[in-house]
Symmetry: C2
DNA sequence: AATCTATTTCGCTATTTAGCTAAATGACGA
DNA sequence: TCGTCATTTAGCTAAATAGCGAAATAGATT
């Protein structure tokens, strides 16, 4: 659940797409896997990374596993990083704003 | 400069830290490299990736190279992705800026 | 030109990641 | 229990990534 876990998880296009799909609601591992041209074990590995990063949650529901998006983790990580590089609301850092001498 | 380039660039902690450092202003390659416990050739490789992703710009200034943060690329990518997963303004899919699936 | 400094490119090795098939696990229905 | 479906784990290979030291390049300075 560290910051690096999260950015590692986001590094793979398939994993980013999985997150996008889950935006619309929970889906089972199989349903998700069917949308991608890789094997199910490979997809299972992607799910494991997303789960390790805290970006999705798996719920065991009657024989299959439904994954749901954990939006708050993602939001916290991305907004936090954006703040640190100076994007968005000024809650980035407490001292000098960008723009002074290099 | 694709979406994947950007997220690949963000995957490495050193590269994320470089971006944070540059928030305060431009720095030369050597100045940046001195802050990290890896060799200069290794840092040079990190700069190359950040540059390929469009996240920094290098300016040749009197014998050394000053890198500056290209905030707009980063902002566009992160806000775009956040929009796609449903973070931020309710608008989910704005305009696809990256059609990469590789 | 010769040299010095800053940075990158070139080989090279070690580690990590992504993908596969095959086998194992877990839950469910007959 | 037996078989079946859904998913994960195990074991492997190929490719990508990160790191290094040595050498090459590019600008300045002498």
């Amino acid at each position: 659940m560290t910051m690096s876990d999260i950015f590692d998880a986001l590094a793979h296009p398939i994993r980013r797409e999985v997150l996008e799909m889950l935006k619309l609601g929970g889906m089972t591992a199989g349903e998700i896997a069917d949308q991608f041209p890789v094997s199910k074990p490979t997809m299972s590995g992607h799910f494991a990374k997303l789960k390790a990063a805290g970006l999705i949650r798996g719920e065991n529901r009657s024989g299959s596993i439904t994954y749901t998006l954990n939006l708050s983790t993602l939001e916290e990580a991305l907004l936090g990083f954006m703040g640190r590089v100076g994007i968005g609301s000024g809650e980035a850092d407490h001292q000098g704003k960008a723009g002074d001498t290099a």
